[in-house]
């Protein structure tokens, strides 16, 4: 009854094109923000931060990044893990080289470095598309991991070949390193995920976003009506890589604290984030959240059910978890190829008319 456009008259084009045109949606959005910023930080503990919220939000940033490239601009990429590694190593080098500069700036700069690398590896997209491009980006994945393993300068010649985040503070509260509180981690990541989602939404609603979608839907027609394919594709690679770089930097510095490139940023990571984007819904910011939530929360839920509630041995639970999640992914893709975002859209559409069917 309250989920209606009726009676909510828009009198300007700004109002008409806002992100949440229905009042109830708008209020819900503010409520979610209020809970995320005002309540959760005070009640969060280590388990909820490390198992749920922090990885969920970091993966969301990466999923938003890949969604811009694949979902909005139609360029398939399997190099996400490699680009996250660039963000991680860039932030590590910046943190250790310029200890006086704020970590927040380092994370943004790591995103910028990744954007440059992303554009370089995006150059083949001007010539090739589809599966062939996927293979070209796969090369980026393997090359970057190899590079960070092979060149000791990247890990500051440490004996283990690992990178370890030194303690850095924001407003004299530690946000990286061993002494970090759960709520501090949570707040840093929340700030970034909110900012990234907001930026991504803005970029995809304007002329740049339309040029990406035009390239995705029909690249030849797009060029004939005036889209410069070079600019559209490379800007998608740059912005996508920026987000992925930021997420890689956060993943290493705030979440893991120490990382070894092949383990933390291997090909599995690329696939994981690609699954998130596909399950969540291509071409949807909400879908990035939903997909990340699905892939992060399902294993946690399974573990709690199998090991916690049923008391099964952990190895059996772990194997079963793989099978169930794999099965769920397949079922999902068959039933709703457009992902969770589409389910959400259909639900909203029905709700608008409820209790009437049409």
């Amino acid at each position: 009854m309250f989920y209606r456009e009726a009676g909510d008259f828009k009198t300007s084009y700004e109002d008409d094109s806002q992100t949440f045109p229905i009042k109830f949606d708008r209020l819900r959005y503010y409520a979610v923000l209020a809970v995320a910023f005002g309540i959760i930080p005070f009640i969060i503990n280590d388990y909820w931060a490390n198992a749920v919220f922090v990885p969920l939000m970091i993966y969301t940033i990466a999923a938003i990044g890949l969604n811009i490239l694949t979902g909005y601009c139609g360029q398939v990429s399997l190099g996400t893990g490699g680009f996250m590694a660039v963000g991680a190593y860039a932030s590590y080098k910046l943190m250790t080289s310029f200890p006086d500069v704020s970590i927040l700036i380092h994370i943004l700069l790591a995103g910028a470095v990744t954007a440059v690398v992303g554009v370089l590896f995006g150059l083949p997209s001007l010539r090739i598309k589809g599966f062939y491009l996927a293979v070209a980006t796969l090369a980026a994945q393997f090359f970057l991991v190899w590079l960070f393993n092979k060149v000791p300068w990247f890990y500051n010649y440490s004996a283990s070949g690992q990178i370890t985040a030194p303690e850095r503070t924001v407003l004299s509260i530690p946000v990286t390193g061993a002494n970090t509180d759960a709520w501090a981690k949570y707040m840093v990541v929340l700030l970034f995920v909110t900012g990234c989602a907001w930026l991504a939404r803005n970029l995809t609603r304007g002329s740049l976003g339309r040029s990406w979608m035009a390239i995705r839907d029909m690249d030849i027609a797009a060029e004939i009506i005036g889209v410069n394919p070079l600019k559209a594709k490379l800007s998608a690679f740059a912005i996508s890589s920026f987000f992925i770089g930021v997420s890689g930097a956060l993943f290493f510095s705030v979440y893991l604290g120490a990382a070894e490139v092949g383990e933390a940023f291997g090909i599995q990571k690329s696939f994981l984030i690609l699954f998130m984007v596909i399950i969540g819904g291509l071409g949807s910011i909400f879908g990035s959240f939903a997909g990340a939530a699905f892939m992060v929360l399902m294993p946690v839920l399974m573990k709690n059910i199998f090991v916690g509630a049923l008391g099964w041995p952990t190895d059996l639970a772990a194997h079963l978890e793989f099978m169930v999640i794999g099965g769920l992914i397949i079922v999902f893709l068959i039933l709703e190829p457009h992902g969770l975002a589409q389910l959400w859209r259909i639900a909203k559409e029905k709700l608008r008319l409820w209790p009437f069917p049409h």
Binding site: S12, Y13, E14, S17, L199, N202, L203, R205, G206, S207, L208, G209, R210, S211, M213, A214, R216, D217, M218, I220, A221, A222, E223, I224, I225, G226, V227, N228, P229, S235, I239, G283
Partner: protein
């Protein structure tokens, strides 16, 4: 009768036709050994409706692709607005003020009608990436300005009710209209229509013909169109180019073309005895 002058004249229905807007000079287009267009010259004058007709495979669409910059002619020059057009990419041609629709609808299926038409205005939108990212200042202002222009076109083509519908869900006739809207959104000087009435029923054809005439009348847009429905072509156009097997076999007003023996032969076939 028409009052003819070398530079401009007024048609029977009171429209002023100006000087030459586009001129094709000895255009030849080859694909390997196949000659799609052979040594064709014609002009398109400012404000007129110019039709290109011919049997299937005559090279009409190839000619339109040359005009829109998708094909680069093997020989010959394209003159636009009094200057020879250097070799350029299709999106640069679009920026010169040439917009087109496609024979097989080429809308962006994943976007709404409104977004599709807004995409047509990309050539006019200038705000930078940063301004768009924070959605403040120029980007937002520009979006509203262009939305207003797009809404005018939506009113003009009477598609208000579907503006937020995803294009993929629309019936064929409306898709054609949305595609016209997208091309018009660019405020083109020259509008190319590739079979705007293909596959339409009589009523839809009448609507589309009315829109084409209105566009020409209200915005003064020069139109070049390809169409197979002879009734429509003869009623709409000021001058007609007739092509057959990549050659030009006729050029003139609908009446002249209709009575041209070579054109009749090309369409009806001629006995070789």
């Amino acid at each position: 009768m028409n009052v003819m002058s070398p530079d401009s004249y007024v048609t029977a229905d009171g429209r002023t036709i100006g000087g030459t807007l586009m001129e094709m000079k000895n255009i030849t287009l080859r694909f390997g050994g196949v000659v799609a267009i052979k040594d064709i010259s014609f002009d398109i004058r400012e404000g007129e409706i110019r039709a290109i007709i011919g049997p299937n495979g005559a090279g009409k669409s190839s000619m339109l692709n040359v005009i829109s910059g998708f094909y680069v002619p093997s020989d010959g020059d394209v003159w636009f607005d009094g200057a020879i057009r250097p070799k350029m990419r299709p999106y640069q041609v679009a920026r010169q003020g040439i917009a087109r629709t496609f024979q097989n609808i080429a809308l962006f299926e994943g976007m709404s009608v409104l977004d599709n038409i807004m995409t047509g205005r990309l050539t006019k939108m200038k705000s930078n990436m940063l301004s768009q990212a924070i959605w403040w200042g120029k980007a937002q202002k520009e979006e509203t300005e262009h939305r207003e222009k797009v809404e005018n076109i939506i009113d003009f083509l009477e598609i208000q009710t579907i503006r937020k519908t995803p294009v993929g869900n629309l019936p064929y006739g409306l898709k054609k209209r949305v595609e016209l809207a997208r091309a018009l959104a660019a405020e083109p000087r020259l509008l190319l229509l590739d079979e705007p009435m293909a596959g339409m029923n009589v009523e839809e054809k009448e609507d589309m013909s009315r829109f084409i005439l209105d566009v020409n009348d209200e915005f003064g847009t020069t139109i070049a169109l390809i169409e197979h429905d002879m009734g429509v072509v003869m009623d709409l156009s000021d001058r007609v180019v007739v092509m057959d097997y990549g050659r030009k076999i006729g050029d003139g007003t609908p009446d002249e073309v209709r009575n041209d023996q070579k054109v009749i032969d090309a369409y009806l076939g001629v006995s070789h005895d």
